[in-house]
């Protein structure tokens, strides 16, 4: 039981990283980034290509891939997202949706739909004695990295001036500009950062999940549910909901396997009925 709960947290680690990126992007830009799953996929493929074609190991990929994808995100924001931002939010949603299809098909045309092999880094291939139970080292590592990243982002948000600006711009973008802050200057790096987080989640996923062009498409729907449950644009809510949903689906698989596929969405519907703005969302954010 305890082991299963822990295992749920590991699953939640991916949800949390992806939801965190989605939440900062949504908060700061008002863009529902449908392409987030595609960048998660690119993260995993990035790790695969580095290893397969250049012999670059996991540890380097863990840093290099998110940085490269972050830069890609910056370019995308500058070239497209920014131009579409003044229009109806639907335009950017459709843009990122189209982008998802393009990215998936590009990878598909190069590598096909079959999964690509990626081994666990040898330093993390053993098991770890956690006292109450032993657990695969790699999974413990994933959980630790995710928690550390979430904690760092949390510290940066609450303890630094940049974090304060991001919080302010997320809550009231217009007023924040009217108070003399160049929100536009921060939008680009925040978008890049959100994309980098998706890439990081992808690299972490490569050794333990199937690396194929559709890996993100399947996951992103659940992550959207996570973000909605946590409260759209609520950074704290998204991370908490990420880990919580991981936990719930693990225990759901265990006790009501027949429901496991829909459990997250039933939960989302229930939360929305009870609190339309999500668990940690503010009602005013809806209007």
């Amino acid at each position: 039981m305890l082991e299963q709960a822990f295992n749920g947290l590991v699953g939640g680690a991916f949800f949390a990283l992806l939801a965190l990126g989605l939440a900062v992007i949504f908060g700061m830009l008002g863009v529902v980034n449908f392409a987030h799953g595609a960048f998660y996929m690119l993260g995993a493929f990035g790790a695969f290509v580095l290893l397969d074609s250049f012999g670059v190991n996991f540890w380097v990929a863990l840093f290099a891939v998110p940085i490269v994808l972050g830069v890609v995100g910056v370019v995308l924001e500058r070239l497209f997202i920014r131009r579409l931002a003044p229009l109806d939010p639907l335009y950017n949603f459709l843009f990122t949706f189209g982008l998802t299809l393009i990215l998936q098909d590009l990878i598909k045309s190069r590598y096909g739909v079959q999964s690509q092999p990626y081994p666990r880094p040898s330093a993390l291939s053993g098991s770890l004695d956690l006292g109450l139970f032993t657990y695969p080292t790699y999974q413990v590592f994933v959980l630790a990295v995710s928690l550390a990243v979430c904690a760092l982002v949390w510290l940066a948000l609450t303890r630094t001036r940049v974090g304060m600006i991001v919080r302010a711009a997320t809550e009231k973008p217009e007023l924040t500009r009217a108070l003399g802050i160049d929100v536009g200057r921060w939008v680009t790096p925040v978008f890049g950062f959100g994309i980098a987080l998706a890439g990081l989640a992808g690299v972490l996923a490569a050794p333990m999940r199937a690396v194929n062009p559709l890996m993100g498409a399947d996951l992103i729907i659940t992550v959207f549910a996570v973000v909605v449950i946590g409260g759209l644009g609520s950074i704290f809510g998204s991370v908490t909901a990420g880990f919580a949903i991981g936990l719930v689906s693990a225990l759901g698989n265990l006790y009501v396997p027949a429901l496991s596929q829909t459990l997250v969405f039933i939960l989302m519907a229930a939360v929305l009925l009870w609190r339309p703005a999500g668990l940690f969302g503010r009602e005013e954010a809806l209007s």
Binding site: R167, L179, G180
Partner: protein, 230 residues
């Protein structure tokens, strides 16, 4: 200090401002009165650059700011106090105060803010929206003063507040004025307007229909109240 010429603005198809002209001189407190929907808030938002569909010219300290980005206008010294007070829930009281950059030659220090508003000092670690309505209004005012804004754009600061707090806001505005800060104030409370302001513009159906001084304002209080539908 602030000059608006031929300002028109639209919401979709509906025109809310029609060639409005207005001027605020340095050191003045000027109010904008008019019934709901007359276009007061839109006019203030146009000055800040927050309204999308607008035509006309806005100049501030002899500079045409019509094409200037919103945050640059703020950095020229415009201090915006929106009608919802614009207090951040995700920022503490102190963060709410220190968020904007300092823009003027004579910004208030945090000590001075806390001296003037001791309640804010007591609650500086609280989330901004945990304050009462009156305290939030103080916070919004204190914020632009700490910025060192040279022209305050205050959208109905007294709305829904108790007479005691309204009086306090009046004191602050007079103090600020004495310091040389200029204020453009939207005000439904005609009586309050007459006690703090030097001049008044009457806005009706998107046009500036009259400019009144304090004596005229007092003389026509009854008529104006009727016009405003209060």
């Amino acid at each position: 200090m602030l000059r608006i010429e031929g300002l028109s603005a639209w919401y979709g198809e509906a025109q809310v401002l029609r060639e409005a002209d207005l001027e605020v001189r340095k050191g003045e407190i000027v109010t904008l009165v008019g019934r709901n929907g007359a276009g007061k808030t839109t006019l203030l938002r146009c000055v800040m650059g927050l309204h999308g569909r607008a035509e006309g010219r806005v100049s501030f300290v002899d500079e045409d700011v019509t094409r200037l980005a919103v945050h640059r206008r703020a950095r020229r010294g415009l201090g915006y106090v929106p009608d919802d007070r614009g207090v951040y829930a995700t920022l503490s009281v102190e963060e709410n105060l220190t968020l904007p950059p300092r823009v003027g030659p004579d910004p208030w220090s945090l000590e001075r803010v806390y001296e003037t508003f001791p309640r804010l000092k007591d609650r500086r670690g609280f989330p901004g929206t945990k304050l009462s309505g009156g305290e939030q209004q103080m916070l919004a005012l204190a914020r632009v003063l700490r910025m060192g804004a040279r022209l305050l754009l205050c959208d109905e600061p007294t709305e829904g507040l108790s007479p005691l707090i309204v009086a306090q806001i009046g004191d602050i505005l007079r103090e600020v004025k004495a310091q040389g800060v200029t204020v453009l104030l939207i005000e439904q409370n005609v009586h309050f307007a007459a006690t703090v302001a030097d001049r008044h513009y009457l806005l009706a159906e998107g046009r500036i229909v009259e400019s009144l001084d304090n004596d005229e304002m007092k003389a026509r209080e009854g008529e104006l109240l009727e016009h405003l539908g209060i």
